[in-house]
């Protein structure tokens, strides 16, 4: 079943239309996959027909299926707007390159999520990272190169760490298959080598995750990449890393190992909370809106980490929900920013003056996305916040519940800075000519915005899948 996903690795015909078809197909397949997984449990596919521990296995359970759905759906919607957006931001002759890289990156992300083989994860991770560096470097700002380079350095360190970790695990167990690893690791769990492997993998993943304080690459990478790339990455790239974190700690190393032998819970909880506050505060002081939302992403990752560190089924559900919901929010927000970029060519806060009047539809999208970020009821943000607070209270950590809610107040502050500038400041001189963006841009934006509201009201899909996934992880883990 996973094989069609790999089709993208073969040379695709290099046009926008084809990309959409490919991505759309991936989306359809992941919908079907999700349905099937929810109905009948884990699906596995052996590549090259070698049996599992030897050959490369693709393995889809609820968790993967959810991630596949997020990635492919966001990618399809974002691609719809791509044609319009990159015409302004990327020189004509690089368009083909852009689409190749985009599809490569998409395929690699899907690959990371779908594979059941630890080394394969690393391979796909490298593919996705390399294409990401190139995509970011396509940004028309000179800073883009520097941002890409920064990301390259940090990303490579992260990938190397992961590779070392996987290597050590292989040395101890002689297998690379995740299911197999999880059976064999406990036998050797008390050795120093496994601890080292674990530490390397976790730190490596956290680098990719942009978890505070390892987030330094993220704001610049998001801010200077082409808008489409930002929208795509913001919604998916870090999600894949969160997936890896969950996969490694829960499936590979097992819950008891991950959290009893190391003070991981405390470390993650503290880092998550500090991340929420530090990044939100940083977001408040940004003058570039892309930077602002990039820092907000770091803060949102903090929420996911907090939920994750609770190590309860409810906490993990909250994390997964937030994963899904945050993809929707940030996808919508960065796409809307792309629209602003398309019209006024910059995303500096001061250039937003009066945009509330000139681009009312786009700004309304930003406001709704922002409200979702704050966690106002009837948006997805509220659903994840509700679960997170409930999960924290379940464990009895009241002060942390207060801190989480305080964090969302910081979101009010940075979202409202934009609102005030856009709606209260008079328009800039010569801004009369600014119009709304073309329909081709508007439709994807509003698809995501409406998804924000829809999944905030009808939560059956997201909540059920997240619950099933977290329960299966807790059930499976030894």
């Amino acid at each position: 079943m996973a094989a069609p996903l790999c089709l993208f690795l073969t040379r695709p015909r290099l046009v926008w239309f084809f990309s959409i078809v490919a991505s759309g197909l991936a989306f359809l397949i992941s919908c079907l996959l999700l349905q099937q997984v929810m109905a009948s449990g884990t699906i596995s596919y052996e590549l090259g027909a070698w049996d599992a521990p030897w050959g490369i296995e693709y393995r889809i359970d609820q968790l993967n299926a959810l991630l596949l759905l997020i990635i492919s759906s966001i990618s399809t919607v974002v691609l719809l707007a791509a044609d319009t957006s990159i015409r302004k931001e990327i020189p004509e002759d690089r368009h083909t390159v852009f689409y190749i890289l985009y599809l490569l990156s998409l395929a690699a992300m899907l690959g990371i999520v779908a594979t059941g083989d630890a080394f394969n994860i690393f391979v796909f991770l490298e593919i996705s990272s390399l294409s990401a560096y190139a995509l970011i470097a396509l940004g028309k700002d000179r800073h883009a190169l520097w941002a890409s380079f920064q990301y390259l350095i940090m990303g490579t360190i992260g990938a190397t760490f992961i590779l070392i970790g996987i290597g050590l695990m292989y040395q101890m167990t002689g297998t690379l298959n995740i299911a197999d690893l999880s059976i064999r690791l406990p036998e050797v769990a008390q050795t120093r080598t496994v601890f080292t492997a674990f530490a390397f993998v976790i730190v490596g993943v956290c680098l990719k995750l942009a978890m505070f304080p390892l987030h330094l690459w993220l704001p610049n990478a998001y801010a200077y990449a082409p808008s489409i790339v930002t929208a795509f990455f913001a919604a998916t790239a870090t999600k894949v890393a969160v997936y890896l974190l969950i996969r490694f700690t829960f499936s590979v190393f097992g819950l008891s190992f991950s959290f009893t032998h190391l003070p991981l819970q405390v470390v993650f909880m503290v880092l998550g909370l500090v991340g929420i506050f530090a990044a939100s505060t940083a977001a408040i002081y940004q003058s570039n809106i892309k930077h602002l939302f990039a820092y907000s992403s770091v803060a949102q990752i903090g929420y996911m980490i907090v939920g994750f560190s609770l190590t309860t089924a409810l906490g993990l559900t909250a994390t997964l929900l937030h994963l899904f919901n945050h993809a929707l929010m940030k996808g919508a927000l960065f796409l809307a920013l792309g629209a602003v970029m398309y019209r006024i060519g910059t995303t500096q806060l001061r250039d937003f003056q009066g945009l509330g009047r000139q681009m009312p539809v786009t700004m309304a999208a930003i406001v709704i996305g922002g409200l979702s970020l704050i966690g106002v009821p009837l948006t997805v943000g509220f659903v994840s916040k509700w679960y997170l607070v409930l999960a924290v209270i379940e464990v009895g950590w009241w002060p942390i519940a207060v801190l989480i809610l305080l964090g969302s107040l910081l979101a009010v502050v940075y979202v409202w800075r934009i609102v005030e500038v856009a709606y209260f400041k008079p328009s800039l001189e010569g801004a009369d000519s600014i119009k709304e963006v073309p329909l081709a841009f508007m439709i994807p934006i509003w698809t995501l915005v409406l998804a924000n509201v829809y999944f905030g009201i009808d939560t059956r899909l997201s909540v059920q899948v997240a619950q099933a996934a977290s329960q299966s992880l807790f059930g499976v883990s030894p």
């Binding site: 009821p377 009837l378 659903v383 209270i393 519940a401 809610l405 005030e420």
Partner: protein, 496 residues
């Protein structure tokens, strides 16, 4: 009557929302736009009134809109307290619309379409709050109300409006997210449900300390009730056009706050449990302090709207205090005070707006001798002031009476004194204005300007609400019955 009550209940929430596109679409034709608003408000009142009749006959009406999260439904249920509030809000919406036609045109305000559209959304969410069947539904509409009134508060678009809006949104959103949401989640966690039930949802054996803390979270979290120290948003919201201050910040928004407090006290905690909680006493004194301090601050305000705003803060303290007294007389007084204060305060705000439009005055010190120019407005002001003070022949008498009985029943003598002193303070900061307006004294310049009242629609609105103040004194029976039903008849207030 062909519609079923259930349908009417849902319609009454959706209807104002449906009117919004209509208002926006007819935006370039002011007359049409305003008839859409008025038409909607009339239909709304009709619906609410029919619901009232249905409730009186003992019908139990509820509706469900499906589950948002497992176990958390959006559901609506009619009970007497909500009915009371819905009647007031829908009735005063009509009056306010009539008034705003005069005011907004007389004052040449811009963006009137946005004004009417947001107003309709706000009313829709107020209806949602009044009929909410559980805390969760209430919370949703509570937040929608905050957000939909933000553009109204910042209507002027000036720096001052922006600052006011910032305070408004900042306090309301932060208290609701930080405390209110936490209180709801905790209730959910402790009691396993957030439905409103007569007698409360908590187990009688619940840990008093936990329940007490949740109560504190509720009272602080419902920022719209403007208990000090979270009252700053209300004076800040006074930058809004006067009809907004009148309906929203004397009736809809603040009343939504105290209404929620009352509802939480009666249907989440239950007055029996409430009386036992350790934090109730503390909150009672906080409410008392809020009453006194706000009255004292009100005396020092020269801007009429600011003075009225602080007076509102103080009066809201009455309602909160009544609810926390946890006796039937207290709850009775509180719910009646919601109605009485609504009529009194909206009249006062209408007058303030009329003075601004007709005489272009906003400071109290400038209003000496205004009685000759605007006799009707000033007479209305006098009567409404009496209602706030609680003197006959106005409706305010009754609610204050029951509140006093409540304090005596529980032996809270200190609180009784607070209520009395506060009445005196009310006299001190409200009555001098109309008196000086009519009897300016010798030193006032008697530049004879002749009579120049506010535009006719505004004047009509003022007269209706003033008459309302008096009628509520002579004929408080339906209101009393409704308020009594809140506690007395569990059959009526049968929760789901």
């Amino acid at each position: 009557m062909s519609l079923s009550l259930e349908l009417m209940l849902q319609l009454s929430i959706i209807l104002p929302l449906l009117a919004t596109p209509g208002i926006v679409a007819t935006g370039h034709k002011p007359n049409l736009r305003e008839s859409v608003t008025i038409g909607t408000s009339l239909v709304l009142l009709y619906l609410v009134f029919n619901l009232y009749l249905g409730l009186k006959q003992g019908a139990s009406v509820s509706a469900h809109w499906g589950e948002l999260l497992p176990g958390l439904k959006i559901s609506f249920h009619i009970e007497p307290l909500g009915m009371l509030f819905a009647l007031i809000a829908s009735f005063l919406w009509i009056i306010t619309t009539v008034y705003s036609i005069g005011y907004m045109r007389g004052h040449n305000e811009e963006n009137q379409t946005r004004f009417y559209a947001c107003f309709a959304i706000a009313i829709s969410s107020v209806m949602g709050i009044t009929f909410a069947g559980n805390l969760f539904t209430l919370f949703i509409f509570y937040e929608v109300l905050t957000l939909s009134t933000y553009p109204l508060v910042t209507h002027a678009g000036t720096n001052k409006a922006q600052r006011g809006g910032r305070t408004y949104l900042g306090i309301l959103l932060s208290t609701s997210i930080l405390f209110f949401l936490l209180a709801i989640v905790s209730t959910w966690f402790v009691a396993g449900t957030v439905d409103f039930k007569p007698g409360g949802v908590f187990d009688p054996g619940v840990n008093k300390l936990v329940a007490g803390s949740i109560l504190v979270l509720f009272v602080f979290g419902i920022g719209k009730a403007a208990i000090m120290p979270f009252h700053r948003w209300l004076p800040a919201a006074m930058v809004a056009p006067t009809p907004v201050s009148a309906l929203l910040h004397a009736v809809a928004v603040v009343k939504a706050g105290v209404f929620t407090v009352l509802k939480v006290c009666v249907y989440i905690f239950g007055i029996d449990l409430l009386a036992l909680l350790p934090s109730t006493q503390f909150l009672l004194y906080l409410a008392a302090a809020s009453i006194l301090l706000a009255s004292l601050v009100a005396m020092r305000q020269d801007n009429l709207k600011a003075r009225l705003a602080y007076s509102t803060v103080s009066q809201l303290g009455y309602v909160t205090m009544g609810a926390l007294l946890a006796t039937s007389a207290g709850v009775l007084g509180s719910s009646m005070h919601i109605a009485m204060h609504a009529f009194g305060k909206i009249t006062l705000f209408f007058c303030a707006g009329a003075i601004l439009v007709a005489a272009h005055k906003s400071e109290i010190s400038e209003m000496r001798g205004l009685g000759r120019q605007m006799p009707i407005t000033m007479a209305a002001f006098l009567i409404a002031s009496l209602s706030i003070v609680g003197a006959p022949p106005t409706g305010g008498t009754w609610s204050k009476w029951f509140l006093l009985v409540g304090t005596m029943e529980t032996g809270q003598w200190a609180l009784m004194v607070v209520l009395m002193v506060s009445s005196l303070l009310n006299i001190a900061y409200l009555l001098p204005l109309p008196l000086r307006a009519f009897f300016p004294g010798a030193e006032a310049s008697s530049a004879d300007v002749g009579m120049k009242e506010a535009p006719l629609p505004s004047l009509i609105a003022i007269c209706i609400t003033t008459v309302g103040c008096v009628v509520l004194f002579v004929y408080p029976q339906p209101l009393y019955e409704l308020a009594q039903a809140i506690l007395a008849a569990p059959g009526l207030a049968h929760g789901k």
